[in-house]
Chain length 293, copies 2
Amino acid sequence: MLRQIAILGPGLLGASIMQAARARGQAARLTAWSRSERTRAQCVGHPWCDAVVEDPRECVRGADLVVACVPVDRIGPLLELVAGDLAADAVVTDVGSTKAGVCAAAERVLPAGRFVGSHPMAGSEKSGPAHASPELFAGRVCFVTPTAGSAAAAVARVEQFWQALGMRVAKETPETHDRIVARVSHLPHAVAAALCALLATQPTAWGAFAGQGLRDTTRVAGGDPGLWRAIFQENRTAVLAALADYQQVLEQLRMALAAEDFGAVTALLAQGQRWRNRWEGENPAPRTGAGGA
Amino acid sequence: MLRQIAILGPGLLGASIMQAARARGQAARLTAWSRSERTRAQCVGHPWCDAVVEDPRECVRGADLVVACVPVDRIGPLLELVAGDLAADAVVTDVGSTKAGVCAAAERVLPAGRFVGSHPMAGSEKSGPAHASPELFAGRVCFVTPTAGSAAAAVARVEQFWQALGMRVAKETPETHDRIVARVSHLPHAVAAALCALLATQPTAWGAFAGQGLRDTTRVAGGDPGLWRAIFQENRTAVLAALADYQQVLEQLRMALAAEDFGAVTALLAQGQRWRNRWEGENPAPRTGAGGA
């Protein structure tokens, strides 16, 4: 059991961590800091919160695990602020959805070896501690992204912590993590959004001739543009590389069709179909629509 | 009521036309030709088939409406074969899923003004007369694609026929039809197939990190590569144009991201989101999964 877990930013993820840690007996003490008075008020008086404070430095004092649950561009500055108040044995992690930038920023401001990045693949359309759940993480994947500078004991503590909350840990470098999510999550969004942006320039009446294929292919493009702009911005380098790779495959298909090389057209379609069928077989659709990352 | 409808190729669509025409009292006589002995045998002895013959010329004799329900690349040669046996007042149409090539081929071999192309947006994963249904067309859209050479009376006869089977008719030129289906149906398939072909080149383990977004975006890529190669081949010109347009939008997105022009990134995502939300609102998902085109 940990001595004290400090949560910087008890929103949906942060408060869910507190609830899960308490429910599973992972920490003697759970402290939280939020810059929002409303969020602090929502944490008071629950069995999963032993103290909620206005100063992040006070929150981390004595903690052997600190989890930064603020937007990725605020993690570096926040950790710089609390660095001087960390316990000598403190390990620090985060829950940001991109990792290379976060890990570099955190390692710049923290004592050597103490930061190990995390990305729990769990979430909800809802936000805030009122929607938190102790079961949010159960059965889901958590990326843990050590670097050459990470202390082995720190990596082990972070891994064991997520496993104790019921997660399967996938250990990758920050850069590999960013490449993976760029390809399996951010690229599909870009592809669908561009398709809808093109259809937006066509006669409106044409929409009536589209069917289930277009419906599925473009569903994610209904997502919030501000949120996705932020994701593309955070993971810009990896998204750019994924887009360039994708453009190359699409151009292969177009050139084969232009050259009437139907053997090459079929080969590309068949390669895609084989991948899709194997992936669907290995990753069948869940029974419930809950969760997602 | 028509005097006689001749169906060249009573597969799923052709036999469904016969059943629907009989059920709705649209023709005194229904004749069919198939080059397949098995298909001919499946048509014998049903109330919706008055005669099934081995010679397509015999099938069309006396008919005032001839419907070619064979693959698009066989329509021209087949109509050339029967041209000399058509009644003086016969009107000819088809059910092919591309139109510019079919209409040009048909007009080359038939008497002036008598051919009017059709594309009923109805179908099933199943094929053959055994899976035909008199309700296959009800409530669905049928493209009718007259050209400058089509006789007005022929266009009217074809339109009224599909309407009598319960369809909503959309009148477009063959070229516009091909552009529409290229953009709302064939392009989404190409986009999803290319995404899967790219993912097929990435480490297999990465698939475990993908979620519902990738599942939806790539669902259609599970379709038969041979079938889709044929569709891309038939509609090659329009698919090439749609692909080129799409590549341009995708490149806009990539360039905006590369230039860190996040205003432009957001604008493109927002344009796509607006289109998607309006389209979903105007075309809500059907209750059943039946039908499709």
